[in-house]
């Protein structure tokens, strides 16, 4: 249940200036937007400070001296400044929002495009869920940091600076008293935010465990019932749910504690203003409006600090996210074109494995000193036990991997001297578990050759015998296959992937035959489709069906990374070796299935 229980690893990287700079560099291509929203936020923030000052003026110069015209004047100024502020609010939300989406878009694009060039080794080592998280949540977190996070920082800093400025302007001694509270608040805020963040991460982790637990109990409900495990499972789950409760509740009350803490610290500042400022009023050190303004500025100064603390706490995680993203972007593809690589125009010709060594892990050799020459136009059947190296041979041939030692020659040239595209675009491959993409049947077949006409697609489908079942669909070729092709049966998916390969008109055909059983009719269609594909092409088949094996020009038995037997069907049977045993066993199994007197009813309702 990897989809449900994929756990985020703990990353708590230290502050890293280099990474931070690289994150900020994401803004560079969009510097106009960045500049625009910075200016807008600055204006909005300054306006807020001005409003408070205007409030002071309203009291001091209009209300206290009973001057009605001054009231009108001040209120009109208010309205004017408010209009300016509204425009700037509109601008910064628009720009920061668009910028955030854009940075995310850029990061996703960069990662995705880079991934297309990475070699299979990377995907062997890296779980799918890990990559998914980088592209989805990590890119979001970075975009969040350099737009809304940056915005909070600018806003907060300007609020603090302007508040300080006006406070100093109104009464500098009083201002200095208030400033004492700032560092205290900063320390408290950072402490809280860090604690809260840790708690929320724990909550997220537990949450994914809970979902995983649900998922497993639902998918395994038969076993649970059969083994009467309900009570025990409930007990276990309750433990987990209580842990979740404890963590969530703790996170919630920690957050709830933070706000009052800020309020109380601010209140001490207000108290100081009242105490010290009150005495100043009578000697003209400060006005009534001034006192009021001070109370307002204290809020303006204190509240941004909690935002700054939050951004600071989150920044550490964003940096960790960025490091993961950059590590992926910086990964060099292992298999690349050599500078002098050429496109030979065709790869028809002999294929030679010349003393090839290969391993996925250095201490576990898969192929050792492997030699094989495949003649142009020849059909080769690879047989042998799982893990013997059959798939590796095919992977090397497709240059999904490259030999660790030795050489593979195509038409006499080391294939490393050819471009990847020149090889891979001329090889047609049908995998054991056919992979389709969301979309229609037509789109999936067209994957083989993008400029194919609808007629050509239909012809390809007819050639492999897929047309009949496709035509039976309500929307025939326009039928949706569902995510990964879930709406089709395995046999149907195979036929479509055969049609896809036919359409590509490959020079070399590679197929990994499916082991899973499909119904007899589909089986026959697949056989027929394969034969069409093999006609006149060099073909390498990882074969499981006797009929396929028998019609091969040469059968190669692979065991333990070496060729243990090689020859035609008749030759190998006469040798009475591995092939003989494999063949007779399979023969019995196939006939048993074929002669079964039971009418195949299909899967039906499996109750």
């Amino acid at each position: 249940m990897s989809d449900f229980s994929f756990e985020e690893e703990d990353f708590n990287s230290q502050f890293n200036g280099k990474t931070l700079l690289r994150i900020l560099a994401q803004l560079k291509p969009h510097w106009q937007w960045t500049a625009g929203f910075t200016v807008a936020v600055t204006i909005v923030s300054i306006m807020e400070a001005l409003f408070t000052y205007l409030g002071k003026l309203l009291v001091d110069t209009a209300i206290v001296p009973h001057d009605s015209s001054a009231v009108a004047q001040i209120l009109i100024t208010f309205a004017g400044l408010a209009a300016i502020q509204l425009i700037n609010v509109f601008i910064f939300i628009t720009l920061a929002g668009a910028l955030g989406q854009r940075v995310e878009y850029d990061l996703r694009k960069t990662m995705f495009d880079h991934m297309q060039d990475l070699s299979l080794t990377y995907f062997d080592k890296t779980p799918l869920g890990w990559i998914m998280s980088r592209v989805t949540s990590d890119s979001e977190r970075i975009a969040e940091l350099i737009t809304w996070g940056l915005l909070d920082v600018i806003w907060g800093l300007i609020n603090i600076v302007t508040s300080a400025f006006f406070m100093l302007l109104i009464n500098w001694q009083l201002a200095l008293i208030v400033f004492v509270a700032v560092p205290i608040l900063l320390v408290v805020a950072v402490w809280f935010q860090k604690k809260i963040l840790v708690e929320y991460r724990l909550v997220r982790k537990l949450n994914s465990k809970i979902t995983g637990s649900f998922a497993e109990n639902i998918t395994g409900v038969r076993v649970v019932k059969a083994l009467s495990r309900e009570d025990e499972n409930l007990r276990e789950f309750s433990g987990l749910a209580v842990d979740m409760y404890t963590a969530s509740f703790r996170a919630a009350w920690l957050s709830a504690l933070f706000l009052p803490a800020v309020q109380i610290i601010s209140a001490f500042a207000v108290g100081a203003v009242v105490w010290y400022g009150g005495a100043q009023v009578s000697i003209g050190g400060i006005t009534i409006g001034g006192i009021q303004a001070f109370v307002g500025y204290i809020t303006f100064m204190m509240w941004p600090i909690q935002d700054l603390a939050r951004v600071y706490a989150e920044m550490q995680h964003s940096i960790a996210s960025a490091e993961r993203i950059f590590s992926m972007i910086d990964t060099e593809p292992e298999i690349v074109n050599r500078p002098v690589a050429i496109d030979p125009g065709t790869i028809r010709g002999d294929i030679e494995f010349d003393h090839v060594d290969f391993y996925y892990k250095a201490d576990q050799p898969v192929l050792r000193d492997f030699n094989l020459t495949i003649k142009a136009g020849e059909t080769i059947a690879l047989v042998g036990p799982t893990g013997g190296g059959k798939s590796t041979i095919v992977n090397l041939l497709c240059r999904f991997y490259e030999p660790k030692a030795g050489m593979i020659r195509i038409t006499g040239r080391d294939y490393m001297d050819l471009t990847l595209h020149s090889i891979q675009s001329r090889i047609g491959i049908v995998l054991q578990t056919p992979r389709l993409f969301s979309g229609t049947i037509r789109e999936n077949i067209r994957y083989g050759r993008l400029d194919a006409t609808d007629q050509e697609i239909e012809d390809a489908a007819k050639l492999v015998g897929a047309h009949e079942f496709i035509a039976a669909f309500k929307k025939d070729y326009g039928e949706e296959v569902g995510e990964g092709g879930v709406l089709l049966s395995v046999g149907q998916k195979q036929l479509i992937s055969l049609a896809r390969a036919v359409l590509a008109q490959p020079e070399v055909f590679i197929m990994d035959e499916a082991t899973s059983s499909v119904d007899t009719l589909t089986e026959a269609l697949i056989q027929q489709g394969m034969e069409k594909l093999m006609e006149g092409r060099t073909s390498v088949i990882i074969a499981h069906r006797l009929s396929t094996i028998k019609r091969a020009d040469r059968i190669i038995v692979i065991e333990g990374g070496r060729i243990s037997e090689m020859g035609t069907h008749a030759e190998l049977l006469r040798a009475r070796g591995h092939y003989y045993r494999l063949y007779t066993r399979q023969f019995r199994q196939e006939l048993e299935a074929e002669y079964s007197p039971f009418e195949a009813v299909g899967e039906g309702q499996a109750v």
Partner: protein, 609 residues
């Protein structure tokens, strides 16, 4: 309020207590037991709002009584200063208390919901799980439960946090000057309506944004899963273009979403500004003509800010709350389903069963329209082996599913030890029956835990190993670096089909059931292990009534009763010898072996062997 005292499920509150036709009533019922705490939260929020309001009044008072008089005494100022600090302490404490109580209720309600859901789901019938979609269920127990949690922890309490201070501050303004009070709320209805209007739009844009996010994830996921196909067809550029299209669309929708926010805030802000200016204008003139004091004006000015600005959020809360109600409905739907009782039964068994089954014209209809089993009649003595032979869909699995009452037969009569099977409590039957499936489900736990999974008692390590040895899996387990503590699945080892089956065998051995159901499929297992499994199975079958779902003649030959099934009916019945003597499918299958050998002979001779 400590975690250790958290009650898990209480008999006092069951799944049905959470169900109601009306969603609001439903929310109310879910709150059972935490309503007073929630009320306490609202009271605390009100107290905190009153403290805040008092702060502003105190400021007005300070101005009028002290500052405007000149030469204030230091002691008076200290009193006022302390007043502010005390009020802030009050406000802060009650804010904290209110939020804590709200969180306490919300998290407790969620804990109870989760636990109830977990238990309810595992007790729902096979029929239910056969129809339910796993993905949909997971969605309901995760995101919908979380949405419900947020209703209590954020939205419901959020509306309280918004409206209670509004009411309190409004009353305070009215008390200062009632005309001033009335003109202070002129724009409020408009602001609220605008807010709701915009948030409906925002939420629909958000949904469309999320849909695109799902599309983009699928595109990415398919690309990663199909990386070989992409490379094989050298379709990198095509894939980039495909991703680019969806990526751009997400960017576009994201921008459109933010754009709505960009329209929303200035629009409601301008209304709020109009309200502020009206208030200040009227307030100032009242202050100038002496109707109110300067201090009152200051207090009013601050209170006005408190009622105008926060009200813009009302739309967000209402829209989110209405979405939370949809989630309630989806969760309640699960609770509406009836569980299958495990302990109920007309018959109370006193000890283990003997294992004598009598099927008399038993039929089973699945969901009214589909009759799966017809007219099943046979008898087996305790300890006998019953083997069923037939194709997929012939009814073998349906037949054995009747035994532990996963499904109840619908016609005829079926007795165990002479007592109607449906009189036995389900839980008891399931304890008496062990099942080894063809592809057994193992849990993401250690191998030891998987083996002990169904034992229902404390099991010693020696017992686990003995069971594993008997199931011929001990050596395999020891070959893993962590032995019996090796995790199975994703994060641990991937076991082969045969290994899984043997772990399941060990699991069943520990359970030590009186009746055994074996799905005998050794075709996926290689030859060396086949012998080992067969031996383990024979060991297991001794002295137990055994039902074998067979695919090949070899595995049914030892059976006391062989049932050849087709399309839900028994087409042949008897022992191996009896069936062999008859004309029919069984003999055909049996003869197949020699026919196959003949053909093989022919095949080999064609190459000169």
């Amino acid at each position: 309020m400590t975690a250790t005292t958290v009650p898990v499920t209480t008999p006092a509150y069951g799944p049905k207590d959470a169900v109601a036709e009306n969603r609001w009533v439903g929310l109310w019922r879910i709150m059972q037991g935490y309503r007073f705490t929630y009320l306490g939260a609202l009271v605390s929020i009100s107290i905190s709002a009153i403290a805040r309001m008092t702060t502003f009044l105190l400021l007005g008072d300070l101005v009028d009584r002290v500052l405007a008089q000149g030469h204030p005494e230091s002691s008076v100022l200290v009193t006022f200063a302390l007043g502010f600090v005390v009020l802030a302490a009050f406000e802060g404490s009650f804010t904290y208390l209110g939020n804590r109580m709200a969180a306490y209720s919300a998290e407790h309600i969620t804990l109870r919901l989760r636990t109830l859901l977990f238990d309810h789901l595992q007790r729902l019938s096979f029929m239910y799980h056969g129809k339910a979609k796993t993905g949909d269920l997971i969605q309901r127990v995760s995101s919908d439960v979380d949405a419900l949690r947020r209703v209590f922890s954020e939205q419901a309490i959020g509306i309280g946090r918004l409206m209670l201070p509004f009411i309190i501050n409004f009353i305070a303004i009215l008390a200062l000057n009632w005309q001033l009070g009335l003109i202070s709320v002129l724009m409020i209805p408009l602001i609220m309506l605008t807010s709701v209007y915009f948030f409906k739009k925002i939420s629909s844009r958000y949904e469309s944004f999320q849909e695109q996010e799902a599309v983009l994830s699928t595109t990415l996921q398919e690309n990663l899963a199909g990386v070989r196909v992409v490379k094989a067809f050298a379709r990198q550029e095509y894939e980039k273009a495909k991703f680019e299209k969806e990526n751009k669309e997400k960017y576009r929708r994201g921008k459109a979403l933010v754009q709505m926010h960009a329209y929303f805030w200035p629009t409601t802000d301008s209304m709020a500004w109009i309200q502020m200016l009206i208030g200040w204008g009227v307030g100032s003139s009242l202050a100038i003509n002496g109707t109110i004091s300067v201090g009152t004006f200051l207090a009013y000015s601050a209170l006005l800010t408190q009622i105008v600005w926060p009200i813009r959020n009302v739309g967000r809360l209402i829209v989110q709350l209405s979405m939370g109600l949809v989630s309630y409905h989806r969760v309640a739907e699960i609770f509406r389903e009836d569980v299958e009782p495990l302990t109920e039964g007309a018959y109370t068994p006193t000890g283990d069963v003997r294992g004598e089954f009598n099927f008399d014209h038993v039929g089973f209809t699945y969901e009214e329209d589909a009759q799966v089993l017809h007219d099943i009649t046979f008898h087996c003595e305790p300890g006998q082996i019953v083997a069923m032979l037939g194709s997929t869909g012939s009814g073998k699995t349906s037949l054995v599913n009747l035994l532990p009452r996963f499904y109840d037969y619908t016609s005829g009569s079926l007795t165990l030890d002479g007592v109607d099977l449906n009189s036995y409590p389900r839980g008891f039957l399931r304890q008496q029956i062990g099942i080894v499936e063809q592809e057994p489900f193992l849990f993401s736990r250690t191998i030891r835990e998987n083996i002990c999974y169904g034992a229902g008692r404390e099991v010693t390590d020696a017992e686990v190993e003995a069971a594993a040895q008997a199931a011929a899996v001990h050596d395999v387990v020891l070959s893993f670096p962590n032995g019996y503590n090796t995790l199975v699945g994703e994060k641990g080892v991937t076991l082969s089909g045969g290994q899984k089956q043997r772990v399941a065998l060990a699991r069943t051995l520990l359970k030590n059931p009186r009746i055994l159901i074996l799905d005998d499929s050794t075709s996926s297992v290689d030859t060396e292990t086949e012998g080992a499994i067969r031996e383990a199975l024979e060991q297991l079958m001794k002295n137990r009534t055994t039902f074998i779902i067979a695919h090949r003649v070899q595995s049914v030959m030892i059976a006391d009763v062989i049932l050849v099934m087709d399309k839900g009916r028994i087409v042949q019945k008897g022992t191996h010898d009896e069936l062999l003597a008859q004309e029919g499918i069984y003999r055909q299958i049996y003869n197949l072996q020699s026919r196959i050998e003949d053909e093989l002979e022919k095949e080999l001779s064609s190459v000169g062997l």
